[in-house]
């Protein structure tokens, strides 16, 4: 009979105590798994949010953090805008030689539904056609895909695309229309309707929580155009103009594009030709004489935020969960140690049957390891089961996709870690077994 079997039988003999101590270990490990995996997913999401392009260019009046929070994570109030002409520098001006794709972002409107407030982002279809987000396991870029419908048509000013979470929260479907609200307050003026033509597949980025409208339509909404300076012809295209006279088949409802002179952008996502172009653009925008805008490398800034904000939180959580596992380990120690007096008789019998001191010590150590390992394995399963159970809720509300099998390499350290830890906590009761007085424990006289 192996030591494992003997240890297993000892555990069976004290089934309730063994189960409870194993459970405490399982809960500690499950918490650890949750912290490890959720941290990894959060970091992945943060990183994915800032991937797919090199620079974010925005108004110089805001800071770089505000620019990234605003553009990448859709958090905070919009920055002071920059002229549309500045955006044109990237498409056909002085920055064009360095630029592969430049995507305008206009932020400032919101949509309120079912108690949720969602950001409305005005942009071009290039965001979903020419920019990627994150990377697949094989290193290839992840591209936006549509769960339903299609991308915005540039020529159809009032088309919109919804992120997966926004679609779920708003209960809107392809073919529905919605009215963005001017500003971030639910009490703001309602704009005219946009038609939803597509819903994105979940990306695990902040874009899942946003509604994207054609920037051409956005410019035509009230309060979004710069002053026309008494040019009556330009006013004709605006939302406030009468629309009952337009052709019902006209997707633009009789409106024409807003002249570029009246346009502004909140920020620009810039995908450069290469890393050298990125450095050149960064230098030109941030160090040049023209201080209209600043350029931020979002990857670096997000990494900095992760290191400075999420990193310490993770350390605190890990320390707490390690402490929980240590407490669980001590409960194993106490449980086995307390049972030593009642099992000293069994140990003495084994010694009489020829077991060496080292053997009985080993059996107690094996029991501690077995208890920790089983508790640990149950904890791993429990942790991942919690992830799987929470997955639909987290995906619906945060766009973060959690999977049952979402393993982190840190978890592979758990098993050897638990074996070492169990050996340490098992040492004290094992030592008691080692020192058992056989003659006295067998209950014999002289």
């Amino acid at each position: 009979m192996t030591f494992w079997k003997i240890a297993w039988r000892n555990m069976q003999q004290r089934a309730l105590a063994s189960s409870l101590t194993g459970l405490s270990m399982a809960l500690g490990v499950a918490l650890m798994i949750l912290v490890i995996v959720i941290h990894e997913v959060t970091v992945q999401q943060f990183s994915s949010d800032a991937q797919g392009y090199h620079l974010i260019v925005g108004g110089s009046k805001g800071g770089d953090v505000q620019l990234v929070m605003n553009t990448v994570f859709h958090i905070g109030n919009p920055l002071y805008p920059i002229p549309y002409s500045y955006y044109k520098e990237f498409t056909e001006g002085r920055y064009a030689p360095y630029t592969k794709v430049a995507i305008p972002y206009c932020i400032g409107d919101s949509f309120h539904a079912n108690g949720w407030r969602m950001r409305v982002v005005a942009t071009t279809p290039d965001l979903f056609d020419k920019i990627s987000y994150g990377a697949n396991a094989d290193g290839t870029d992840k591209h936006y895909e549509f769960r339903e419908g299609r991308n915005i048509n540039t020529e159809h000013f009032f088309e919109a695309v919804l992120g997966s979470v926004a679609a779920k929260k708003s209960s809107l479907k392809v073919g529905d229309t919605f009215q963005p609200t001017h500003g971030m307050s639910a009490e703001g003026t309602k704009h005219i309707e946009f038609e939803i033509v597509g819903i994105l597949k979940p990306t695990g980025t902040a874009n899942d929580r946003a509604l994207f409208v054609n920037v051409e339509g956005f410019y035509l909404l009230e309060g979004h155009a710069l002053s026309a300076e008494a040019d009556d012809a330009l006013v004709a295209g605006l939302e406030s103009a009468h629309e009952e006279h337009h052709d019902p088949d006209d997707p633009n409802r009789g409106r024409t594009r807003l002249p570029e002179a009246q346009r502004e952008v909140t920020s620009i996502l810039v995908l450069c030709n290469n890393d050298l172009s990125m450095m050149a653009l960064d230098q030109a925008i941030n160090k040049g004489k023209d201080r209209t805008a600043i350029a931020v490398m979002p990857g670096y800034l997000v990494q900095d935020m992760l290191d400075k904000v999420i990193g310490p939180v993770r350390v605190v959580l890990m320390v707490l969960t390690v402490l929980i596992v240590v407490v669980a380990g001590i409960s194993i120690l106490v449980s086995i140690y307390n049972s030593m007096s009642e099992r000293s008789h069994d140990i003495a019998v084994m010694r009489a049957l020829g077991a060496s001191r080292a053997a009985v010590m080993g059996i107690v150590m094996v029991e501690s390891i077995l208890l920790s390992l089983l508790g640990g394995l149950v904890g791993v399963l429990l942790g991942h089961a919690c992830l799987a159970l929470a997955s639909p809720y987290v995906e619906a509300h945060a766009g973060i996709v959690l999977r049952f099998w979402q393993f982190n390499w840190y978890e592979s350290l758990l098993i050897p870690g638990l074996v070492i830890f169990a050996s340490l906590v098992g040492f004290l009761p094992a030592l008691t077994a080692y020192r058992t007085d056989v003659g006295r424990s067998l209950g014999g006289g002289r």
Binding site: M1, V349, L353, G354, S356, R446
Partner: protein, 227 residues
């Protein structure tokens, strides 16, 4: 087969004074011989068995089994020797409650350093009439059945010597004879020498050789005078 020469063993009193327990000039047991050891309580019977088995070390003297001096052996080697060559039957049977009857017998093979022979363990249990109770835990066995498992466990490694410490003390008179018969028959069949400690005259009367510890243990005489 078993030879004790000038064996001395003392314990320490709480005041630090040595309390002699064993002082045996010479005691021997031949191969296959069955001997009863009698003596009053506290005269050192259990200590003697523990010293013979190597569970307790002696202060001086020589204990040899099959020509091997146990006193000179390192503790690990002594444990291994005990596992292979000495069988134990205790007063309270001492079956481990977490293990089945078969596992209790196999436990006797676990510490020999050799591969366990579950076939032999089963055969022994069948021979003592427990072939149908292999998977039963001690709590599900009667007192008589438990003692039979204990006998099977003691003999499973084909020991040279079986030490039985008052094996009938906790059994009702109706079962006492069954246990003695079982031990004697099993030892005869397995050609195992047996040293049986008992207080019961009806048990000792059945053996050809009965030793009184007070006669061979000079320390017992000292302590009895003191008491």
């Amino acid at each position: 087969m078993l030879l004790l020469e000038n064996v001395r063993k003392s314990y320490r009193e709480p005041n630090g004074e040595p309390l002699p327990i064993l002082d045996i000039e010479r005691f021997h047991l031949d191969a296959g011989e069955q001997v009863v050891l009698r003596g009053r309580s506290g005269c050192g019977k259990t200590t003697l068995l523990n010293c013979i088995s190597g569970l307790t070390t002696v202060d001086e003297g020589r204990i040899s089994i099959k020509g091997r001096d146990l006193v000179g052996l390192h503790e690990v080697a002594r444990d291994r020797f005990r596992a292979r060559h000495i069988g134990f039957v205790f007063q309270t049977f001492n079956l481990l409650p977490a293990f089945s009857a078969l596992e209790n017998v196999l436990l006797g093979m676990t510490f020999t350093g050799q591969k366990s022979d579950s076939g032999r363990a089963k055969r022994l249990l069948e021979e003592v009439g427990l072939g149908h109770r292999l998977t039963h835990k001690p709590s599900a066995l009667s007192v008589g059945e438990q003692q039979r498992v204990a006998v099977a466990r003691a003999l499973v490694n084909r020991p040279s010597l079986l030490l039985a410490d008052e094996p009938t003390a906790n059994i009702d008179p109706a079962h006492q004879q069954q246990v003695i018969d079982l031990l004697r028959t099993a030892c005869e069949e397995e050609k195992v020498a047996m040293l049986l400690v008992t207080h019961a005259p009806e048990v000792s009367d059945q053996f050809d050789r009965v030793e009184f510890l007070e006669k061979i243990n000079r320390a017992a005489l000292v302590s009895s005078r003191e008491s």
